[in-house]
Symmetry: C2
């Protein structure tokens, strides 16, 4: 069974409160580009993410606003920033790494919120049933000069969902694959 | 069968002629640290690698001087530099990517020489026989939160050799492993 790859660059999800501080009270994110996942978009707005050791500028915010603020980076970014974020599913930020967000109107020191995202496949409940994903994890076979069978690929079920495998830039670069490439799911 | 992982950061091997231009006629590389591979060392000397698009400073030279000049980078580096080096075994640089080396005494425009190194395991002919590596490639199973079975891991035989799996920083970061970690060879 095949699935297309979506490569996730480092990005930030923001809560209403945090967006107020970074860009001003009641600021509305501008949609730069719709993402494949329904309702999700890359915003025009970008922030700097910073630690005591270093910073990375021009990190894009993904909209819409969420109930929590979360920074998703790669292990390569983590070394640059001198932090050790856990590998987590999106939304699971308790006791994740601290990080600072800097916007044009202000900055926010997050005590937690920075993670390395788990490899995951987006599916609807209907697709999950049809495709027979009984377990919470599958493996994925990537064919390339630096191919691999990736383990611990989580199944992420949501009623609004586009069927796609999300890998971070470390995975994509290590495996020499790019956005839109096709790979095989192994149950 | 287990093997320890050696993570190779970006680095440069230089020929006598190129070292002469970069650091001065008959310059002798200074040994900063012996590598696990016999006779090989990380030199004190570093260069800048550059393309029209960008540059990366402080790229370490590995000694001793070789018959050819070769730059080994990751895919992540390649995106930054705006080039597309092939995935190759060390020494196989024909029609690889062009790159410029800049040292304190001069610079060299290489028409070819930049590669992404193939994943490989160093073995002596004796070890190869004992371990039964009949093929030129094996697979390697990496256990971690972002584990995988890596394919296309080349067997690199040399009489002076330390038994070790070499991965680049993209592989190491994608898989969340570090120098000295242990993994399993699957024939």
């Amino acid at each position: 069974m095949n699935v297309s790859i979506g490569v996730s660059a480092r990005h930030v999800h923001v809560s209403r409160d945090v967006l107020d501080v970074l860009f001003g009270k009641n600021y509305v994110l501008r949609n730069k580009k719709d993402l494949h996942q329904p309702t999700q978009f890359a915003a025009e707005e970008m922030v700097t993410i910073a630690t005591e050791k270093s910073k990375i500028e021009n990190v894009r915010i993904l909209g819409p606003v969420r109930d929590y603020t979360q920074v998703e980076i790669s292990k390569t970014d983590a070394y640059k920033l001198g932090i050790c974020p856990p590998v987590r599913d999106s939304g699971d930020i308790q006791k994740s790494a601290p990080i600072t967000l800097i916007g044009p109107c202000g900055s926010v020191n997050l005590k937690e919120g920075c993670i390395i995202a788990t490899r995951h496949i987006h599916v609807t409940p209907q697709e999950r049933k049809e495709k027979g994903f009984d377990e919470d994890e599958v493996c994925v076979k990537i064919e390339s000069e630096k191919g691999a069978i990736l383990e611990h690929v989580h199944i992420k079920e949501a009623s609004l969902s586009y069927f796609e495998l999300h890998l971070d830039t470390d995975d994509a670069n290590a495996l020499c694959v790019k956005d839109g490439d096709i790979c095989e799911i192994i149950k």
